[in-house]
């Protein structure tokens, strides 16, 4: 009898809360929610879920665009800001912090953030500046059938990968068993950052903007990146993440370090050759040079609330976004991303990201001058990768280009 009563009450409460969630997700007051985000499936899903809060005196609009990084600073600088919510990652939050364009969220969390987990709060100088809702990292994708045929176990290090590639090539199983997103620009620089993180080195001298990659770690990083290209399609300098995804799907590649956010697309298998999907294994990213941490950067995606908007808009925006990343949405879409939300049960596509995070991978650095280094790397490494320049020269060029930019940016 007592049990029945409890069940009835809790069922009743459940119905009530569910009802409230459907009715404009319970936003009190009025407000305008304007979301700016990058453009990929998981973020579009968050945006459409947040849009369920529209109704009555609350409006929700969203703009998902790959150009978000170029838009966000000017759009949030004006008052009132063009967007009330900016969805960011480790790197894209930095320009917003540098120009003081987003507001601390602690009071909003106290009022509306009961569902959030402690590890979702991105705290800077003691204040929560962003709410993370998904994690991402590059990690190893490999073809179990090819490795089995060559008699090789799962590679754990880049040295294993090189040995495996040599064996696969020597056995005539594949001509170009490896692929990496080495396209000059953002992708190539990210490869360098990944590998360098695996060596355990720091990018900058402690507490200053002085670059510190011109050392044994930097040389080891370049040496590894170059050694891998010996087993890649000769066009490796034109492949970005989507390019290697296509090559892998076509069955031309046995091993690659690829984004966890593309694992769902891989397992879904649209356009893949026979035997590719069922033999694909997702594993932690490899280590390098005897290091103990995976040679990749960990990323988070999260939302921030603009500073130059009314408190009403901020409150409405926060509530809409909390609804957008709610446990219900995650429960309905477990395979879209590696969610950092209460109650998330990792699916098969998240295995690699979680293994990489558990192995202790380091986060992509958030120093204000990291963007300048990323740009310098993206331009200056191409000649080395193409084989027309020495590693020492490439590192010297990166340092020179970074110093020039950092002086102009006011950091040196």
């Amino acid at each position: 009898m007592k049990l029945l009563l409890k069940t009835t009450v809790s069922l009743g409460v459940l119905c009530l809360t569910a009802g409230a969630a459907f009715a404009e997700c319970g936003i009190e007051g009025t407000g305008s929610v304007r979301i700016l985000s990058n453009d990929f499936e998981a973020l579009r899903l968050v945006n459409t879920t947040a849009a369920e809060c529209a109704g009555g005196s609350v409006t929700v609009t969203s703009n998902a665009t790959a150009e978000h990084k170029n838009i966000q600073v000017p759009a949030l600088t004006i008052n009132p800001a063009e967007y009330s919510v900016a969805v960011v990652a480790n790197n894209s939050i930095v320009p917003l912090l540098n120009d003081d364009l987003i507001r601390p969220l602690d009071d909003l969390i106290a009022q509306y953030g009961q569902d959030l987990q402690p590890n979702q709060l991105i705290k800077i100088d003691g204040k929560t500046m962003a709410i993370a809702f998904m994690g991402n990292a590059q990690h190893l994708f490999y073809r179990k059938d090819i490795l089995d045929q060559a008699g090789i176990a799962e590679p754990k290090t880049y040295e294993d990968i090189l040995a495996a590639a040599e064996k696969i090539k020597a056995d005539g199983l594949m001509q170009y068993p490896l692929a990496a997103s080495d396209k000059p620009g953002w992708d190539l620089a990210a490869e360098f950052v990944n590998t360098y993180l695996g060596t355990g080195g720091e990018f900058f001298a402690t507490g200053s903007a002085e670059l510190d990659i011109d050392n044994a770690n930097g040389l080891k990083t370049l040496e590894t990146m170059k050694a891998l290209t010996a087993y890649m399609d000769p066009d490796y300098l034109t492949f970005d993440a989507n390019g290697i995804q296509a090559e892998y799907k076509a069955g031309n590649v046995a091993m690659m370090v690829q984004w966890g956010s593309l694992a769902g697309d891989m397992l879904n298998g649209e356009g893949a050759a026979d035997g590719v999907v069922e033999n694909t294994v997702l594993a932690a990213a490899p280590t390098v040079g005897g290091g103990s941490v995976p040679a990749v950067a960990l990323w988070w995606d999260g939302f921030t609330i603009a500073k130059n908007i009314s408190d009403e808009d901020a409150a409405a925006s926060f509530q809409a976004m909390v609804h957008g990343i709610s446990p219900d949405m995650v429960a309905a879409n477990p395979t879209v991303a590696t969610w950092l939300v209460a109650g998330y049960e990792p699916g098969p596509a998240a295995v690699g990201v979680i293994a990489t995070a558990n192995a202790g991978a380091r986060a992509y650095p958030m120093q204000p001058y990291m963007g300048l280094l990323h740009t310098a790397l993206s331009v200056e490494l191409a000649e080395f990768m193409a084989g027309s320049e020495s590693a020492e020269q490439a590192l010297a060029d990166v340092k020179a280009a970074y110093d020039t930019a950092a002086k102009e940016g006011g950091y040196l």
Binding site: V73, D100, N119, G207, A209, D235, L298, M385
Partner: protein
């Protein structure tokens, strides 16, 4: 025309030119002479979903806001940005000239500097594509002029296609065609019997592909202007030349080409200017590793995580100066012809 009427007539154009041409150029020049304020950095604790808390450096935004309020343009840097490694690289070139192992070493080390690398490709593109595209356009115009009237419409339409397509799309189409599994790339592999041949891989082949694209996309403009010009060639002069026994080649050489010379000057002027701003094919061909241009440098400064407005401004001013230098000989020639006619 009285001076007053003439002035009233061109006044709207003058205002538009000041607003849309002169003022932006002044603004870019001013921008190029400034750099950001020295950033005031503080160390703070930073906590993330993975990896716990670390001490990281941040910009002290309150102190920076005050600095910006006092001097919104940033720090005055004069010609510092023009002379730094990203642009004219005066110190670096001095060092290379003072300490080197020969001419080859000097050239390769100067080419390693981003500005000179971009300038080399920009100039090569200008001086290879412009004459070749004009020549090709002229040949097509001569050809189209002689085909039966019924076929002219469709032929002109198809000849103009490369110009109608947006440059970025046009370069992407050609880029897909030269991929190893594209129609041109695959056929070249068979033709040269080399399964590893890749147009995208070597710097030389990338340059050749870009130049080929340049000629392909520029030729239609020359064609359409020359074709229009061909309609104005005086028929009686041509007829008298034929009666005098001139061959087709001689008629072209001694009647048509001199008649079209002023038009050729005009086409060269426009195309040099256009080609100096080459940008889309570099992006479309993903050729950044092997070829960059001045416009691409500006694009690179204005995209990504860190925006360098001063640097982009300096490259823009240098580009404007480059266009002026390129056009000077043509402009002088036009001016002389004009004076000649008046006298």
């Amino acid at each position: 025309m009285p001076h007053k009427t003439f002035f009233a007539f061109i006044l709207p154009s003058l205002i538009a030119m000041v607003l849309f041409i002169a003022l932006p150029i002044v603004s870019v020049v001013v921008q190029s002479m400034h750099v950001e304020h020295g950033r005031i950095l503080v160390s703070v604790e930073n906590c993330q979903p993975f990896g716990g808390c670390t001490t990281e450096t941040r910009v002290d935004t309150a102190a920076m806001a005050q600095l910006r309020a006092e001097q919104p343009m940033g720090q005055f840097n004069g010609f510092g940005t023009y002379l730094n490694r990203g642009h004219l690289a005066v110190n670096e070139i001095g060092a290379i000239l003072a300490n080197n192992t020969g001419l080859g070493d000097i050239v390769s080390r100067i080419y390693n500097l981003p500005f000179y690398k971009a300038l080399s490709f920009t100039l090569v593109f200008c001086f290879v594509v412009t004459p070749l595209a004009m020549g090709l356009g002229f040949i097509i115009a001569l050809g189209v002029n002689t085909i039966p009237k019924m076929l002219k419409g469709p032929v002109i339409f198809f000849s103009l296609l490369p110009m109608i397509i947006t440059p970025l799309i046009g370069s992407l189409i050609l880029y897909w065609m030269i991929q190893p599994n594209g129609i041109i790339g695959a056929n070249l592999r068979v033709l040269f019997d080399d399964p590893t041949l890749s147009l995208r891989q070597s710097p030389v082949l990338t340059w050749l592909s870009l130049l080929f694209y340049g000629v392909w996309t520029n030729a239609p403009f020359s064609f359409v202007v020359f074709y229009a010009g061909l309609q104005t060639v005086p028929a009686d002069t041509l007829e008298s030349a034929m009666i005098d026994g001139a061959s087709r080649w001689e008629r072209i050489r001694y009647v048509v080409i001199p008649h079209l010379a002023p038009l050729a000057t005009f086409v060269a002027l426009v195309q040099l200017m256009d080609n100096f701003r080459v940008f889309e094919p570099i992006v479309g061909f993903s050729a950044e590793a092997n070829a960059t241009s001045l416009s691409w440098l500006i694009f690179n400064d204005l995209s990504g995580d860190a925006l360098l407005f001063g640097s982009a401004g300096a490259t823009s001013v240098i580009t404007i100066i480059g266009v002026i230098i390129l056009l000077t000989p043509v402009l002088i020639r036009t001016w002389r012809e004009f004076n000649h006619k008046v006298v």
